[in-house]
Symmetry: C2
Subunit: 288 residues, 2 copies
């Protein structure tokens, strides 16, 4: 139980920002509420208006408050979170084995966004590029070998803002036995990538999702309509066949303020059942 | 193939920042390289030193460059990423079924951090608090019912900075049949939470990880030693028994610049094998 290492007391703008943040966390300030004016903050904390302004800028950068030009800052209204569950991987696999009539009626977009398809504009762009070092390493091909790059995005017709964005890679040598897979005009493909790969004899047996996050670039923040202080979640999906060969890699980006990724891990049962005595105690007790 | 909606050309500091970002992405500037001085940037882009400074500030906020007070900015050296895989859930479950001698020698810390245990300082703090609405909803108990809250963190002995931080919750009524589970003096518990729960007759059959990200607060950035522009990844682990009853909830935070979460999803095979003809083409071809 060592105390934390001693830290220098934070400057006034950090104390103001943390005080407001705690008011938001305790629910004393709720989404949409206006914050005190700079003059009010300066008086309450006996500090300069400049320090109050710095506190407000910090809360904006942390994604807690928003303000347009000339508008008073308000507590941000968080957008509804879209949940993307790893359980969709099996659902998509099962769908890929169904007849085309069934495959055609279910699109990924319907299950991903809180929005009608007619409100969205989809784009698919295919090209063939050199794998380069990192992808060549994953696919175990040469860096100069070609990969089919498929860029997908959807935008909100009303605002022009991005709703989804991903880039998929597959070795051209793997998919070229079915030339239809090389042509973006065949998008949207009923049954998606898992069905596409089935047409060249590939069955995906394992999917690995690698997740991290970073701040958006200026251009990305503009395209997604991201408020200040909202990170992008990056998810790389790596699909493997029964021999653990990588057959597809897909990089998707999700705005953190409107996305939750959910991963479900079923566990194998313990080898033998334990008796549920309820009388056990201590570290030795009740081993299975 | 609609063009993007027209956007106003970005101001000069955004163009400078995006140019430098692309140089980093293309590998023309590599980690540790110094950036041009403000005067050099101003001359090259025919802009004011103030605009050049704004571009540098933006790159700092995006986590791409770092600079101490009075030091020239350099391209950030990204720390080595620690990979946390969902496969550890089954490993931990298997371990919980082993004899204590075996459980005692494997600690989670060894598998999580690129650091010797002797270099880290661990803390475990237990207390009992009211569940409140959100947790009560998950555990299906009353908001005033008590939960055992266990706060874990580890710090780097050399720097005092946080290395890991998580908070776990379990209903007191669930764990109290084994009073040893209520006492933080029994930490580190050999075999961890899955073994602890086994002593009260609970076997975890499913783990759900919910992942999102947000910017750190000022205090969090200080405790973790986070550079500007680095988000925290938030991961809530929800553990369920065979009846899908929630038995534990754990909230962990990970600095995005040094963490990658990896989730492995095995898929069930398609019901019947397809022949791998290699002659298939078009959307109808090669259904499994």
């Amino acid at each position: 139980m060592e105390p934390r290492p001693t830290v220098v007391p934070p400057p006034i703008q950090l104390r103001i920002a943390d005080d407001i943040r705690m008011q938001i966390e305790r629910g004393e300030l709720t989404p949409g509420d206006s914050l005190p004016t700079l003059a009010e903050l300066a008086e309450r904390w006996s500090c300069s208006v400049g320090s109050a302004r710095a506190a407000i800028a910090l809360l904006k950068a942390q994604g807690l408050i928003s303000s347009g030009r000339g508008k008073a800052p308000v507590v941000r209204v968080p957008p509804r979170k879209v949940i993307r569950s790893s359980e969709r991987h099996q659902v998509e696999k099962d769908l890929a084995a169904r007849p085309e009539a069934e495959r055609a009626v279910v699109g990924e977009a319907e299950t991903n966004l809180n929005m009608q398809i007619s409100e969205q504009e989809f784009r698919s762009r295919y090209d063939q590029v050199e794998a380069r070092a990192a992808l060549a390493d994953l696919f175990r091909i040469e860096p100069t070998d070609l990969v089919l790059r498929r860029r997908y995005d959807s935008t909100d017709r009303a605002t022009g803002l991005l709703l989804s964005s991903s880039v998929s890679y597959m070795p051209v040598a793997l998919v070229s036995p079915n030339p239809a897979l090389l042509d973006e005009a065949n998008e949207p493909w009923p049954g998606g990538t898992q069905h596409q790969l089935s047409t060249v004899g590939v069955e995906i047996m394992t999917i690995i999702d690698e997740v991290t996050a970073r701040m958006p670039t200026t251009a990305e923040a503009q395209l997604w309509g991201l408020p200040d202080g909202v990170p992008l979640i990056l998810c790389r999906r790596i699909s493997l066949d029964a021999n653990e060969k990588v057959v597809e890699v897909s990089d998707a980006e999700y705005p953190a303020d409107r996305t939750e990724l959910r991963f479900v891990t079923p566990l194998k049962p313990w080898p033998k059942r334990r008796s549920n005595g309820g009388k056990t105690s201590g570290r030795q007790g009740g081993r299975p």
